[in-house]
């Protein structure tokens, strides 16, 4: 396998991994916002940062 193929394959899987990461992270954020009844950006950010 050429270097291009290795790097390309890694990039394809990395991209898909990033997509899945954002998918699950976003789901978690939406769930948190609705469970804790958060509203403003500051409230949500403070909660996400554990403050």
């Amino acid at each position: 396998m050429s270097f291009d193929a290795v790097l390309g394959t890694i990039l394809v899987f990395l991209s898909l991994g990033i997509l899945l990461f954002f998918l699950f992270r976003s789901k978690r954020i939406i769930k948190l916002i609705h469970q804790k009844d958060l509203h403003s950006a500051r409230e949500i950010q403070n909660k996400l940062n554990g403050k």
């Binding site: 291009d4 193929a5 990039l11 991209s15 990033i18 998918l23 976003s26 403003s40 949500i44």
Partner: protein
């Protein structure tokens, strides 16, 4: 009963579920980009390049999708980018967004018409059913594109628009078909691993070609704009809109990557008709490459693929004509474009003016431009539009993040929209290698929007819900003087502010502008706002009675949707140098340090700000001024000097933890631009070491009867939390207090914008 007036109440029907709106987004994305894009992407970037094209585009798309998701969850109304830009930047950029949205949707419609014609003509040509047609294949394709676009324009004119519910099931069928092709491709590679040799030249033409293919296939990721448009009709929009946007991008990216993989492994090296590397063989068919590959992957592949393309392209064509018409109709309705755009057919009840111009655009582009130029023009316009949305999400979160009610907040803010902006800019620039025509058309379209707005729309635009509007204004006679604005909230807080305001205005030779903001909730019609101003009038008259003898006074009552933003806009409009406000000493909302209005004004005002707490008519003999050496400390000393002179008070400048005695008040005051004089004869400097600055100030304040505190120069993040020294001292000290913040000039400009 007979006398009871008959009222008809109307309410919005929200009946699109998460499934429906996800499918709407998928339907827009799967319309054409993948069918036309795969063959061309293989021709330009090779077998590995095509997979990378869709995988990396998916990452950029999810960044923009999260921007759309955040904005749609906070502003779940129909309008998409047009609405977001209106809120972030005002009418001009919002017109540009609407103008780009109209063009992008129309050109996407052209692309879907072209996709339909290419696949249908190719299928019938394969069956030898077009031999009787005296036209070349290219002309036949253009004629079919014209006919199908005209047919769907007519369908839209008749008002028989396909609803999200019915379309959802068509889209589900297309998506399942594409996933099926991907799965067959994977199964083929497992059964016959020699086909993986097709990837041996992974990027045969170089990595830079990737940027070109990513650019022209980006149109296959634009579905979240349609989801945002459905905000008014979605069930639980705050939760479902962001989910649908993110789900749709993830689903299409995985599908596209799988289908790209299947296209490459579909063809066996050395099979009949295939000469040279497989990627070259597929690439030579360009737009039809995907179809040629799939026809070798499974029996009757050609038939099923043509069927899928027909469904995908016509449903997407219908949706884009509908969406483009709605965008141009909205511009006509708001009189940003001529009234003709908002004309509605009496019989069909459809906007025939907007539809006519949309039709001219769709058909003109489909017939006149080569396919790749159509795809590139659509892509570049969506890239420009998304660019604007990514800037809007940053501006809206920073300026209105505390007022909007979010259903989703993107992680890693602001890095994600910034990354999207950067990547989209690179892709847009690189598209010049694919289509010079697109790069001529797109800037002309954007520049024309600016010209149309300035020379036509600006004067004619109908007033919509303005953020701030002046209800009453009584101007002072024209004259010179230092412009000071005093924000008066109510009669109770007005009187205690009068004496100190008087002293400050006198020392600064001020021209005073009294301002009362009337917050009006969105639900209250503007026509009723006047009923809310009585208390404000009373407060302003109280202050006027005390100040008008000495100073020229202008009084302003404004209604606004948000008090802090209203104050800042008044400061900017009237070129105010100093803002004086009152503070009752506590914040009502946990998320704010001093209060939502004060926090906002202190953070963003580009003038000097003075906040008075509990000064009333009290006499002061000892004034404490904590000094850190920055511009706010010097401004605090200036205010203390003014009050000290009037009260004949001593001023103690407290310098904490300055081991090497670096802070020199005289030098610092000289370095300050536009600063007033300090009463050095009254100032005593006291140096002190302490592990906690705020505790040392609080302890020292016990021996003084007034504290004048400069806002800290803490980093923005720290100021937003309750860690700042200003917050700790302001809330911990029970003595009368003045909090000041000097105009930060360029720094404050950066804060307002970033």
């Amino acid at each position: 009963m007979a006398n009871k007036p008959l009222t008809i109440e109307s309410e919005l029907s929200r009946d699109l579920s998460l499934f429906h709106i996800t499918m709407m987004g998928l339907g827009m994305m799967i319309g054409a980009g993948v069918f036309l894009g795969i063959g061309n992407a293989i021709a330009h970037a090779g077998p590995g390049g095509v997979m990378l094209t869709f995988a990396l585009n998916g990452v950029i798309a999810i960044c923009t999708a999260m921007s759309y998701a955040e904005l749609s969850s906070a502003i779940p109304r129909a309008g998409g980018a047009y609405n977001f830009a209106r809120l972030a930047f005002g009418r001009g950029p919002s017109f540009t967004a609407g103008w780009m949205e109209w063009f992008a949707s129309s050109v996407a419609g052209s692309l879907y018409a072209v996709t339909f014609s290419i696949y249908v003509v190719r299928y019938f040509q394969g069956l030898q059913l077009l031999n009787w047609v005296p036209l070349s294949i290219y002309t036949t394709e253009k004629a079919v594109a014209f006919l199908v676009a005209a047919l769907f324009l007519y369908i839209n004119y008749r008002g028989a628009s396909e609803t999200g519910k019915v379309g959802a099931f068509f889209t589900l069928g297309q998506t399942i078909f594409l996933i099926f092709i991907g799965l067959i491709g994977i199964a083929t590679a497992i059964i016959d691993p020699s086909r993986l040799q097709n990837f041996s030249h992974f990027m045969p033409l170089g990595w830079d070609k990737l940027l070109v293919t990513m650019g022209f296939t980006y149109v296959a990721f634009e579905g979240y704009e349609v989801i945002a448009q459905a905000g008014d009709e979605t069930i639980d929009p705050k939760r479902n809109l962001p989910k649908a946007m993110i789900y749709s991008v993830v689903i299409v990216t995985i599908t596209y990557v799988a289908v790209s993989f299947a296209s490459i492994v579909a063809v066996k090296v050395g099979s009949p008709g295939v000469e040279g590397p497989v990627w070259e063989w597929i690439g030579q068919f360009k737009e039809r490459g995907f179809g040629e590959a799939v026809s070798r992957l499974m029996p009757a592949g050609n038939f099923f693929l043509t069927l899928a393309v027909i469904f995908a392209s016509v449903s997407a064509l219908n949706a884009t004509i509908y969406s483009a018409t709605r965008a141009s109709y909205a511009l006509g309705r708001d009189r940003l474009l001529p009234k003709f755009f908002s004309k509605i057919s009496k019989k069909q009840r459809t906007p025939y003016g907007a539809l006519l111009f949309t039709g001219i655009l769709v058909i003109g582009v489909a017939v006149l431009l080569p396919t790749m130029d159509v795809a590139s023009s659509a892509s570049i316009m969506f890239l420009f539009l998304f660019f604007l949305v990514n800037i809007s999400v940053i501006r809206i979160r920073i300026n209105m993040g505390d007022e909007l009610d979010y259903g989703f907040l993107m992680p890693f803010f602001p890095w994600i929209p910034l990354l999207a902006i950067l990547c989209q800019a690179i892709l847009a620039v690189w598209l010049v290698h694919m289509s010079l025509i697109a790069w001529v058309i797109a800037p002309i379209w954007v520049i024309s929007s600016i010209l149309i707005f300035h020379f036509y729309s600006k004067k004619r635009a109908l007033p919509t819900r303005e953020e701030v509007q002046v209800i009453e204004e009584e101007a002072a006679p024209e004259g010179e003087g230092y412009p000071i604005m005093v924000a008066v909230a109510n009669p109770e807080n007005a009187i205690p502010m009068v004496r100190s305001t008087y002293y400050i205005s006198e020392a600064k030779k001020g021209r005073v502008n009294l301002l009362h903001m009337v917050p009006v909730p969105e639900q209250v019609p503007l026509s009723d706002a006047k009923d809310l101003i009585l208390e404000g009038k009373e407060a302003i008259i109280e202050v006027m009675l005390h100040l008008c003898i000495k100073f020229p006074i202008t009084t302003t009552i404004r209604y606004c949707r948000n008090v802090a933003r209203g104050i800042l806009s008044a400061v900017k409009e009237k070129k105010i140098e100093m803002m004086i406000m009152g503070w009752e000493g506590k914040s009502h909302r946990h998320a704010f340090s001093l209060g939502s209005t004060l926090d906002y004004v202190l953070e963003r005002a580009h003038c000097n700000v003075v906040v008075l707490k509990d000064l009333g008519d009290k006499k002061f003999k000892n004034i404490l001024v904590p000094v850190g050496g920055g511009p706010n400390s010097c401004f605090a000393l200036e205010m203390a000097s003014i009050l000290g002179e009037k009260h004949d008070a001593e001023i103690n400048a407290l310098i904490i933890n300055d081991e090497k005695a670096k802070i020199d008040i005289r030098k610092a005051s000289l370095a300050r631009k536009n600063g007033g004089p300090l009463a050095f004869d009254r100032i005593q400097v006291k140096r002190q070491m302490s592990p906690s600055v705020s505790e040392a100030i609080l302890e020292e304040s016990e021996h003084h009867d007034l504290v004048v505190l400069g806002a800290t120069q803490d980093p923005l993040i720290r100021q937003l939390t309750r860690d700042s020294i200003t917050y700790k001292v302001a809330t911990g000290c029970d003595k009368p207090m003045v909090i000041v913040k000097a105009s930060a000039g360029f720094k404050s400009w950066i804060r307002r914008w970033l």
